[in-house]
Amino acid sequence: MTAAETAPHPQRDTYNVYGMPGLIDTPSALMAPDGELITTYSDFAGATRASLSFQIAPRLIGTFRYSSIDQFLSGGATTYDRSFDLRYQLLTEGRIRPAVAIGLQDFIGTSVYSGEYLVATKHLSPRLAVSGGIGWGRFASAGGFTNPLVSISEYFRHRPGGRRGSGGQIETQKFFRGDAALFGGLSYAVNDQLTLKMEYSSDAYDIAATTLNLFERKSPLNFGVDYKWGNSIHLQAHYLHGSEIGFTANLLTNPKRPANNGGAGSAPLPVKPRQNGIEAAQSWPPLVDSSQPMATQLTTLLATEGIELKAFDINGTRATVKIANKRYGARSEAIGRTMRALTHVLPHSVEHLTVIPIENGIPISKVTLARSDLEELEFAPNGITASFDRAVFDDAAQDRLTYDDTLSGLNWSIKPYVQGSYFDPENPVRFDFGIALAAQYEILPGLFVSGKVQQKLFGNRDESTRSDPSTLPRVRSDSNIYAREALTIPNLSLTYNFRPGTNLYGRVSVGYLESMFGGVSTELLWKPVRSPLALGVEINHVKQRDFDQKFGFRDYEVTMGHASLYYDFAQGYSAKIDAGRYLAGDWGGTVTLSRRFNNGWEVGAYATLTDVSFSDFGEGSFDKGIRVTVPLEHLIGKPSASTRDVLIQPILRDGGAHLSVKDRLHPIVRDYHANEMQGSWGRFWR
């Protein structure tokens, strides 16, 4: 490849009103940088669109969009619409060859924006890009001509109208059918901040322009200006269809960007080698009082690292410690810091260092490295790879140390919380703010009593009076009634985590498991330390809690649960398949596809299909959603094991509903296993 082919193109960076790389209304064949998350807010002629786009893989980008269109419904009410897009880049741009992409717009939702396109983009210079394409559906609503695909089959001549059932299904019966039209445009990057755009749009805005008279479509030409502010914000203004001004803002982030401040946090202890260099006439100050027992010295050193020593044992040339990592999202960093601390206290005769991380009272894995390897590799150029290659990962189910495990005792926290409800047509975004007191006490190793009390301070989630009819037991659709209570106990339960055998992990939880259900939840997970595959079974018997979320129950109860298969593909892509029975007693399965970055960012999407018919499910037809997990340490630039989850669930209905029990085993277990730790092993030495 020549330099010109790999040079970054300025236009790579500009997005259309749908939140996809493109011009204004129209798409381009370009992709965002791999991993990019683009939040877009766009407003024009009574149509507001909020989109979240994710560059799933270098050549695949997807979007979830929530839009409102004024006066769309009969009687002048505003309609709210959810839609999903996908675009795949068939050809990357070459010296002569343009980039070519195929796209589906609004292919699952209620199809207000539905259309398909094939588009090519070529940079005539690094600043000037030209795009042209052919579109169907919405992209052929102006200037349409007979579909050229008719030469293949008459099937393509007419596009069926309407939509299937209650929306939310993949509208394959429409793809590439009906009239087609051409669209295209130019973008010119004046400098690194400013990009000018012009396009010919084949979108007639039929409903908005003709039926609703929200604006007058005088011209197919649109003009736009995009101002890039810093690395993360684009502000755009558009002059559309010869009559309207529109605005778009894009907020960009990428899990691959450096952590805030490059990820600081205090430096680790250096390895203390057993023999100093020949010139080591220098006396190094001892870092810890060596007159104390070894376990005490180690406890002191590890405490400064945010690591709690749970057990310690020396057997001949082998030292083993159990630790609880309280600070490092990168689990390898906790292992690396523990091993370096060990070199400061152990007698010279000890050569094999084993660290067993404990989470929720159970040993998760066992990592062993030779002390001489630590001494050799601390500053070795190949030290990161070599130390992973020489580390031995084992199962830790059977380890009994001579020192008793210390219990983690009482942990408590008082934190503010935010709870949101989304996508209610009366008010698409509602929030509650409040304060939550959480506490956990370890009674025996692995046996915890934990609970949470929550007091709402202010918010408007209680204002929802929506009551959708449901033919199913109302397991989730009464969530707005639950939201009316200010002082609640979201959970109060007794949990026992244990290791029934090699590669096996178990959990039993009893009590008020989540804000709407209480009962018994049991789980068994099989996950070898070096395996990308895990299998699990979860069986629960739960009863619906009273709306006040204190101690009472309602009448509905159900036995439900799933068999689950988890698989980690290469490069952070993973799949999870659940099959079983859901809260409303419906049987079915959930497929979850995720991409997890080595710093803990995760973007995933799931869909659940059950034996509830699409019409019984109601609006949306089946349960689906997007989850984004953000590691706090990436934002604050200091080590932290905390993460924040954002779940976007377009429609909360009763079909395909999971129990929301905490401390499920797989996410806890996989983090300390070889596959997960390999990706972040650079942190072993930080």
């Binding site: 190094w284 601390e378 500053f379």
Partner: protein
């Protein structure tokens, strides 16, 4: 060093934090702190000169006779004392009282920790040789961690020469970056002052023996 911009990239609500009893979190670096009681934190604004003035024999004694350095990161500018805390096979690691560490081989920076945008390790064998001779060419290899914890390795080709003030200049260029390190070497071949490059985002650090 622009926290606001990164934080802006996400809804602020996910940043909510609170308080807890987590004893481990609260444990400070007592051992190091005790050692450095007189020179607590590197206060913002304190200059390398001011630090050197405060390094009286009594203060030096508090560090148990460990070798000391004074270092200044150029942007954003801050200075701190560092004390030698250990040596592993020819690499000496120094710590600041607030626990940033710098590691050197023959006075050449090979690793930093706790600064952010840290240098994970550097292969400087050829630079060490060329520096002993005072001139020549050398290839370096630096490793850093990307935002997703991936290991990023970069190779630099360097020219080592003496300038008019007989300082040793190491001019390096790689695929993405160029930098120029400066070393002042005394009669015994020891580096007494240097200005060395850490990483693209962290820039240069000046190191001197007080």
């Amino acid at each position: 060093m622009k926290p606001i911009k990164s934080i802006c990239a996400l809804p602020l609500l996910i940043l909510l934090t609170g308080c807890s009893n987590d004893a481990v979190d609260k444990a400070h670096f007592q051992t190091f702190k005790g050692l450095a009681s007189k020179l607590k934190k590197s206060q913002p604004g304190i200059t390398a000169e001011q630090i050197k003035e405060r390094l009286t024999p009594e203060v030096r004694a508090q560090f148990g006779g460990a070798p000391l350095l004074v270092a200044t990161v150029e942007d954003p500018r801050f200075s701190s004392v560092l004390f030698g805390a250990g040596e592993n096979n020819g690499t000496i690691t120094y710590f600041t009282p607030d626990r940033v560490s710098l590691s050197f081989q023959d006075g050449i920076l090979v690793a930093t920790r706790g600064l952010g945008f840290d240098l994970m390790n550097a292969d400087v064998a050829e630079t060490r040789n060329a520096l002993r001779g005072g001139a020549g060419t050398a290839q370096r290899r630096h490793r850093t961690l990307g935002g997703d914890n991936s290991v990023e390795a970069r190779t630099y080709d360097c020219q080592i020469s003496r300038d008019a003030q007989s300082r040793v200049i190491e001019a390096c260029s790689g695929a993405d970056d160029t930098f120029q390190n400066t070393y002042v070497v005394d009669g015994k071949g020891q580096i007494v002052f240097s200005r060395q490059w850490i990483s693209k985002q962290r820039g240069y650090i000046r190191i001197e023996r007080p």
